[in-house]
Subunit: 221 residues, 2 copies
């Protein structure tokens, strides 16, 4: 198994919440499960610690990182900045074909909204945000985005929404698609910020900071 694969597998375990935030990471056990020895496992843990998904305590092992309200706020703040930038760049660089794909994803997502299927809605939602970032054509940006969103994923794509908020989110997504189609970078950037600000408020209001015992037990692949 390649180094990157080990990192990926552990990252998935953490994002799935299989090892809940704050829990000790059982080295020995993971070694057996991944059929590797401690050396490559520990290499992966250090990488994940640098990413912010794992917390290393000297001589006391590693734990799945636990996000405070402040962490959550900071992450959303940065995420807003990254998506806003991605939106601007995407408008300069996106192809017609890419816009069509996003429009299709948007339409599908709206259907899930009408069906009241939150899981599928979130899945489509995430695909759209990621497509915009991809369309920005900046791998550095995409990398940071991936790492930041990984940390808030469970909160962002799991929080239940009130009908009002959900309706607003869908409306915002209409505007997002519209701005993209008009290639209105400034406009898209602005909408994305507002969209994420609302999402952040939602998440924080729902009290989804990962304090003791919060385990969402959800796997949004």
């Amino acid at each position: 198994m390649l180094h990157e694969e080990v990192v990926g597998r552990i990252r998935a375990i953490l994002l799935d919440g299989e090892i809940p935030p704050g829990a000790r990471i059982p080295e020995r056990e993971l070694c057996e499960r991944l059929e590797i020895s401690r050396t490559p496992l520990r290499e992966a843990l250090k990488v994940l610690a640098a990413e912010g998904l794992v917390q290393l305590l000297p001589h006391r092992g590693s734990r799945a990182a636990k996000l405070t309200d402040k962490d959550m706020r900071d992450l959303f703040e940065v995420c807003q900045g990254l998506e806003a930038l991605a939106g601007e760049l995407a408008c300069e660089r996106i192809t017609d074909a890419e816009i069509d794909e996003i429009a299709a994803a948007h339409a599908a997502m709206v259907l899930h909204y009408r069906d009241g299927d939150l899981i599928q809605y979130y899945r489509g939602n995430r695909a759209i945000h990621e497509a915009i970032v991809t369309a920005a054509g900046n791998p550095v940006l995409a990398g940071l985005y991936t790492s930041v969103t990984a940390r808030i994923r469970r909160a962002r794509y799991v929080t239940p929404m009130t009908p009002q908020r959900w309706a607003l989110a869908v409306k915002e997504h209409d505007a997002i698609l519209n701005a993209l189609q008009r290639r209105d970078g400034a406009g898209l950037s602005h909408i994305l910020r507002a969209h994420l600000r609302h999402k952040r408020e939602e998440v924080l209001q729902a009290g989804f900071a990962e304090t003791e015992g919060t385990d969402l037990m959800l796997r949004i692949a």
Copy 2:
């Protein structure tokens, strides 16, 4: 020696250009120099690879990452976004005392400009940019900023400037300080973007992409 310290030492070696971009990283040698064995060294290299400073080639060792023109452009683009965000947040959160410190740093930097001391000018310049990011009060943002700027540091703070460009940069810094003092987030954000865009043009024009043989041999601590 602590893990973080090992990472830091190797990072410094790379940023100093002691191991020039593209060069092979001599594992054995570094082990002796840092007086550690291969295990912690390799852990550090994987972390630095995740940061983008090191390139890992399976079964072929690691090299100091080499930046192409595209990489440089992408990094500057992201850096613009991060600083713009930092500027906005800083205006909301910065204290009067912090503004005074930045004003003092600015004044000192202008003196170095008048002296024609580019090294000292760059040092002050960097301190100001970092102070703004710090004032944003967002550790996640600060972390990403550190990692992104590390990768372009040699280009950003080493490129020689024409008198015109230098004068313009100083003028932009006047405007930066002014916006900060007025706590004009939008304005500051705008100026920072322009400032960095100009810097990027300068760097790319100077052909400072790290292709073969480019070794700046400079240490701006």
